[in-house]
Symmetry: C2
């Protein structure tokens, strides 16, 4: 056999750290979650940027299943890293500002202790004797490295997929060590479907006769077919259905010409064969078995209650990002994390980024202007310590620099006059949930008045970006689907400002706001305003309740039309108490006390149960 | 080796027809689509019920990838069939009324000519030398069987998944032989994602060392691991993500105790291992390779134009059914077929059945009350020759027997008085598309007046069932998403009766109706009606335009509110011509000529470009 020399085998080659990686060995035995001990642990890692004097600018970047320590180029001549898009000078994870730590994971095959490294007990590679490890074990090794580098508290732990699991683990199990957690395309645990794909992949490796029960490093090429099959399968799950259609549908019968022993009848077949063959060259099957098992065993809490309990120990700020077309870690799983954080009363911003790229979206440029921007803004706000005073408008490309809705312009808009009145209705220091918070004008003003517990809910992604830019916590959600994440009475005040008229399920939204908050503040345009009455009565046309320019009855986002009288009847019928009511003539810029249902164009109602 | 005896091997066992199957051999050589000839072809098949004297009650049922001729029990003592739910006395495919023909497919392994049958040229099983076959080749063998059974024209060809491909093939390539085509959970061709899964499954088989390049029947157990891996993978794709969550999430770490050499750490793992092991006992790997390749090569047309051209040759009625959670043959693919049929002007009913069961839904009882009912009604209407006179109300469990919207009750409802006026506006014999057709009252009346080209579009599944019951063609679609399937000027008249007020994208819907039809007829409630003016002007409350009982401004399905004046202004602004306008006072039951925008509660407008 040509590869009979142990020293020259692929596995040994993998076992060496990558060219820019440093290596550190920790002699303390590592007791593992699922039993067993590793006598010593070596970590291969790369760093970028410099740790500042306060030692508060360190970011731990965690790779996913098949990644390694080489997250980005160290210079222009360097090989590409797996997240060059995100990590580098001036990028979202800005190496001019932050000190980036990127270790190869425990159980990996690129330098860190794993199945292809030498077991000091035997002098031979661990192979199939490498123990079952968990995400917690992997994080513990990362912790040793972070200690070694002299970092007491990380500015953030950032990761996608399995890397997201690590960020979750750090934030919940080492809460004092993390200021921010960035969880991208991840979950509290795998879906049964994702787990099933892993099972099939592992079976393909384990039942490959070349696996030889694992110690194949010394005896042959290893389970190359099984590993390639597992990788092909993985690749299908990393892409969205629509991405595959775009890539392969037009020329499905025209495979690329490649040398492979796998089927290449279809274009997608040649792609998968290529991916499988390439992966076998760079990855170790035992690492694949080890890391997929760690992924599959990860479970931060199987129920909403358990998950909220697990998250309740965290003390960091959270950014959670999912991608609409990701079906391996579907958006609802990110929502479960977000719901748990909300339940536990933790600060979180969440965005379900519209994407056609599937799970791989976080590694691709297509949606970088959304997810990269979110990460960059979140980290910058974390690092600035005073988010509200950061001059975001000066940052090139920052979302806040576009759009007219600055902190001042909001209040100059006549139809948002209700903000001032709403602000007056909110008791000092109250915790406020703003449903349909838009670009966060109300929340930003409340923050400047000293309120600390502030959360927004918004459907529009660009508005969410602006909120993130302002350092506000905002959750991407559709109000029509309820507020199940929020606990009873979690807020002093829930605001529904100029949003009621755009939701279809009014009874549900109002019921939910009064479950979640002790008081609800609702503002809405008054259909009973004399001008609207005249429009219909005199001119026989639909009242122009929507002040939006050029918007008519047939294209307004307003779907519900009500007068103050209607809303009060609704409240009586549903047993809600009206504590206070303010009626405004926004054009005249004054409060209305005389016959408000006729003389006001806008109403603000404070509700309770 | 214990299974060295050729006669006793699994493969030989499979090659025998099932116990109730008959066998017929056709000596004519079969020239195959992709080259090559099969010198003779044997078909194993089962039949149910009796062919009637007119020979017009025969239904060909086509199995999917892993099915066989045993579609249903022949009696209570018989083994279960794969579609017992659907086929039997009194069931949707009623063996008391129809003569059901169920052959094992060419390339299969249960009696019909396939890789495990003896090649007459060599006296040994075909094995890997079995030629590449297509859906067309499989259908050609079915045709020979149908001829042999003395059936000139099939009442219907029915099939799900690969079976749906066969129904598509029959209807398009043997149009004179088919009165109805029922295509369930199928597509015009596989998605690239589905194709990719097949590629991985085949690679697992082909690269299993036990495959031995195919002629394993005589030399060993065959590629059992590869076939099991392929089957595990298949099973993941047959279930929806939500179905897997329901099945496996609660006890994911508690596998069932089974004897297997596959991984069984997780509950889903033991399930997959069980499915893989069981499949290997009953299926032949070469048949798996052969039939998945036929599936993957099927392509009725890669573009909408090509697909419509392929479908344009059909002369049958069509029923197309998809399932909302099917991600292997996603609903959009059924819509592509439906769109092609519409483009080609063919009669089709389509329903996207709400389901949690994924691709397997058509084999499971969960949604039988929808898909089974649709198939049963479609076949019964086909068979009756006079669908409109069938007394559906007498059929136990038929959808028409519930609901108040019978053909007479519709016209007695005061707020559907517009039907009569609309009927008067439609020229005799005109082709009519009814957008938001509800339970089909208008279409049924038009049919009774002799109109033949009638199509409905509806969003509500129960309403679609009623339409199917009445033998009306109705397509399940959301008007807000446009009418792209319909060609320019395909109908004389497009009706939008009492639906405009429920769509959000009014400009698009009206524009589309005037693209598809030469005339549009729109009826809508008039906000300008004096009572509505009074409600707002005098009482200061939102007009009760929606006559629905108990429905208020906050829970009405009405989302757009307009007067006759508004609609006419809209038409002017968009360059539409108003050819005729009828205004009604539906309560008084009379037409209004004097100041209709004030005196009418309902308007009917005939539009053109």
């Amino acid at each position: 056999m040509e590869t009979s020399s142990f020293e020259s085998s692929d596995a040994r080659r993998h076992a060496r750290p990558l060219k820019n990686a440093r290596e550190v060995t920790f002699d303390d035995p590592l007791a593992l979650d699922r039993g067993g001990v590793l006598r010593e642990v070596t970590v291969a890692y790369e760093t970028y940027g410099r740790l500042n004097r306060r030692r508060d600018n360190a970011i731990l970047v965690c790779h996913a299943l098949s990644g390694d320590s080489h997250v980005a180029r160290h210079d222009q001549q360097d090989d590409p890293g797996w997240w060059d898009l995100m990590v580098g000078p001036g990028k979202a994870i800005d190496t001019d500002r932050y000190f980036v730590i990127s270790p190869n994971l425990l159980g990996g095959c690129r330098g860190t202790t794993g199945p292809n490294r030498i077991d000091p007990e035997t002098g031979r590679p661990y192979g199939p004797d490498f123990p079952v490890i968990t995400v917690g074990d992997i994080a513990e090794v990362q912790r040793r490295l972070v200690d070694h580098l002299g970092v007491e508290r990380l500015l953030a732990v950032v990761g996608g997929s399995l890397g997201g699991h690590l960020a979750l683990w750090w934030a919940t199990h080492l809460p004092e060590r993390v200021a921010g957690a960035v969880v991208v395309a991840s979950s509290a645990r795998l879906t049964s479907q994702a787990l099933a794909f892993d099972v099939v992949g592992r079976n393909a490796i384990l039942r490959d006769p070349q696996y030889q029960a694992g110690p194949y490093y010394e005896q042959g090429p290893g389970p190359q077919v099984g590993l390639a099959i597992a990788r092909m399968l993985g690749h299908i799950t990393y892409l969205s259905g629509e991405a595959m259609t775009e890539k392969f549908d037009a020329d499905r019968l025209s495979p690329r010409e490649i040398r492979t022993e796998f089927e290449t009848r279809f274009s997608v077949g040649s792609y998968l064969a290529h991916q499988g063959d390439r992966f076998v060259e760079r990855f170790d099957a035992n690492s694949y078995l080890t890391l997929t098992m760690a992924l599959d065993l990860f479970d931060l809490g199987p129920t909403p209650e358990a998950l909220a309990a697990a998250l309740s120990g965290s003390r960091c700020k959270w950014l959670v990002i999912s991608f609409t077309s990701d079906w391996l870690f579907p958006p609802f799983q990110s929502r479960e994390i977000v719901d748990g954080l909300i339940r536990a009363g933790k600060p979180v911003t969440y965005c379900n980024v519209p994407s056609r790229c599937g799970h791989d979206a976080f590694l691709l440029p297509d949606d970088l202007d959304r997810y990269g921007e979110l990460v960059g803004l979140f980290l910058a706000n974390l690092h600035s310590h005073e988010p509200k005073t950061v001059d975001w408008f000066a940052r090139p490309g920052a979302c806040c620099s576009t759009g007219s809705d600055g902190p001042t312009s909001i209040f100059s808009h006549p139809h948002r006059l209700d903000y001032e009145s709403i602000l007056d209705l909110i008791p000092a220091g109250a915790g406020v949930l703003d449903l349909g918070c838009g670009r966060g004008g109300l929340l930003a003003e409340l923050r400047s008045r000293g309120h600390s517990r502030l959360v927004g809910v918004e459907l529009d992604v660009e508005a969410i970006l602006t909120c993130a830019c302002r350092g506000l916590d905002v959750v991407h959600a559709d109000l029509n689907q309820g507020l199940s994440a929020f606990g009873d009475g979690q807020f002093d005040v829930v605001v529904l400002s100029q949003t009621l008229q755009t939701v279809t399920d009014v009874p549900r939204v109002v019921s939910e706001m009064l479950r979640v908050g002790r008081r609800g503040i609702v503002s809405f345009p008054n259909l009973g305003f004399w001008k609207h009455r005249d429009e219909l009565a005199e001119r026989g046309v639909a009242p122009r309740v929507d002040p939006g320019e050029g918007r008519q009855w047939y294209n307004t986002p307003y779907l519900r039309f009500l007068s103050i009288a209607d809303f009060e009847a609704f409240c009586r019928a549903h047993g809600y108490r009206v504590h206070e009511r303010i009626a405004l003539d926004t054009e005249a810029g004054r409060r209305i006390d005389d016959d408000p249902n006729r003389n006001a164009d806008l109403a603000i109602v404070v509700l309770g149960k």
